[in-house]
Amino acid sequence: MVATSTTIGFLPRADLQGLIDLLRQDGRTLLGPTVADGAIVYDEIEGVADLPAGWGSEQSPGRFRLQERGGERLFDYAVPPTTWKRFVFPPEMPLSVATRNEDGTLTLGPAKREIPKLAFLGVRACELAALGIEDRVFLAGPYTDEDFRARRNASIVVAVQCAEPASTCFCTSMGTGPGIRSGHDISLIELDEGFLVTAGSPVGSAIMEQLPLGTPTADHLSAASDQLVAAREKIGDPVEARGLHDRLLAKLDSPRWAEVAERCTACGNCTQSCPTCFCTTTVYQSDLDGVATSTERLWESCFNEGFGKVAGGNFRYRFQDRYRQWLTHKFATWFDQFGTSGCVGCGRCITWCPVGIDVREELNAIAPPSGAVLTLPEIKPVPPPRPGIFTIASKREETPDTTTLVLTKPGGMDWEDVRGEFVMVSLPGIGSVPISVSQRTPEGMVLTIRNAGPATTAITSLDAGAQLAVSGPMGVDWEGPLELAHGKDIVVVAGGLGLPPVRPVIDTVMNDRDKFGAFRLYYGARTPSDLLYKEELAAWSARGDMEVAVTVDRADATWLGRVGIVTYLFDQASWDGSKVIAFLCGPERMIQASCNVLQAHGVTPDRIFISMERHMQCGIGLCGHCQMGKFFVCKDGPVFSLAQLGDTFGREGI
């Protein structure tokens, strides 16, 4: 929104209804502050009478009270619990509808959605900044949220400068307020007699031209200036903003995280009241006979217990890990991902924390911030992968709890143009799970799935001929590291269910064997009966042009193979690590041990590539579940070099 006019007009108080009427013409819904439920909330406004005349708010850590101030002023409250986020990024949003037809086939379709024409009245400077941050989150790409874009484009933003900040406010520190600078269509400054009006966009200018504006007097201008100065002084500068990114990330081991966790209840109020938190989860609702299933996106919180949970465990099982994740994301890794801070200093997380944890106090205790906004590269939005219907052509039981499915789709797959490491496999009515593509076939793909929960159990219990919805492939695959490996020796280390994700590496090297040097596969599993791809392992071993070493953690007396951990297979090997490119996948603790041994052999971190496991839901970096430090594993990974991961790798609770 480019400012088109610097003209300031004066709108007498009695004429505010005129602005409201203009905003509500053409059936547009006007949303603004009103008193309800013992608070000020953003809701539909039909006239000036709906606005909170004479009401203010008293806010402090863990406390919000309406405050009767008297008088005619309409906007002398500090930010309420509601955020504008809910109108451009709804808490509940239908995504798609799946129907199971009588013949068992599936039909997928988009959910019905309407983009309402809205106008927002009373947007504060910090809230304008929050909308700007959400623009970066949802529109910075490569995947973009087109629903958000449509809602943003369909909204008119009328900002009202803050005159009565709360004790919880710290927009001054975050560089977002209290003065209005950009992001609005129209801005208002409320004075006792009326409003100073400025346009911030062509839409705003057009509205302004229709208002009965006078010329502001010198007294008006000086009153506005005094008001702003007073607001700024009232807030002060409670958080040192410069260098917060580096200082916070240097304090990942601070004892303060555990201390704050003693008070934190992980209720998620801070994330639900935050104007920029964007994590979501996906739920499936089916009718009783399972014929129609709707997929909905809901707001989610990184404080929820299941947020970091994968089949192998919960990456953030402690409250201190979740608090650290939230705080370091807001104030540090948000910069790495979106080029800006994730906090605007509105103070809602302080007011609405039931135990009164004050983020300013925590930041000052742990480390202090930078108001710098980094420039992100221009992006060309990439449409999110659309789900396709695949049919199970055949299935093979690998172990008692792991099944390989061969999926096909009409017309097959053109793998020349397709990149990606994993797919989201959905069974309507049951759930959706991320699965690594273990083999690419002209007809489709091969997936090896362990029964780790209800969705995977349901998927693997389907028979040949059944249909599944598959989105993707998505994420960074092994192709880059494989190109780097031309002419080099290959070491593949896989543990447990880590073998299917590295299968494409094995197949690529096998299919083009002359392009690569020595090839060694080290594979560890829990017991002999847990070994996957037994036939293939025997066949690879028999080829003679690769070394295959297998070990298990425990075995009975009938097993004549090796018993011991996977690093036993190569810790005393005599090969030269200086020419090795290593590919690893398995439980993180096993991968750590393997990385240590590889590095002892001279394999440098830039030549060690790991497929990481995190909780993936949306697959395109927009739902937040798979965040690991500055990365979204689904979008930036799952394949990373050890050098890329740095000290994030192996750190508890990241």
């Binding site: 217990e305 953690d553 425990r554 036993y568 398995g586």
Partner: protein, 170 residues
Amino acid sequence: MSDAPDTAARPADEASLVAALNSTWFGANLPPDTQVRLGRLARRYQAPAGTVLLAEGELANELGVVVSGRVSLRTLVPEQGMITILTVEPGDIFGQSAVVPPYRATSSCVALQPVDVIALDGPGLRAALASDCELAAALYPRVLQALARRLSATRLQMLDLFASRQGGKW
């Protein structure tokens, strides 16, 4: 290891024993005097797959160095039978209880493949370690390294990393 010599023992040639020991991770690059002294304590034998080289609880009279083949370390678990907890590959040792009081085997050592083993006489080795500082200084770090490697591996095995965590917190 009282039954082992009967299975496949043959007279040891000291020089070839030293050379064989030198070819293993455990015995490589020891000081020449130590090599000679160990050579005098060593014998070499082969045993077919299935041979019990040392039984759990027995006096460990020899420390074995695997030259070729695979040896499993097993322990008896009620209702589960003999469970293999580790396999020992060429270069590594078994029967190190021969130098650690009370000199009794903590697991059974069973050949999974035909094995070629250099066995160091336990009482002789203990006497040498007690009296020969150079030999002790050269050998103990290797025994310690072998044990530490085994200990760290055991820890990871105990973590049961590949197990499904379905019963975990959700």
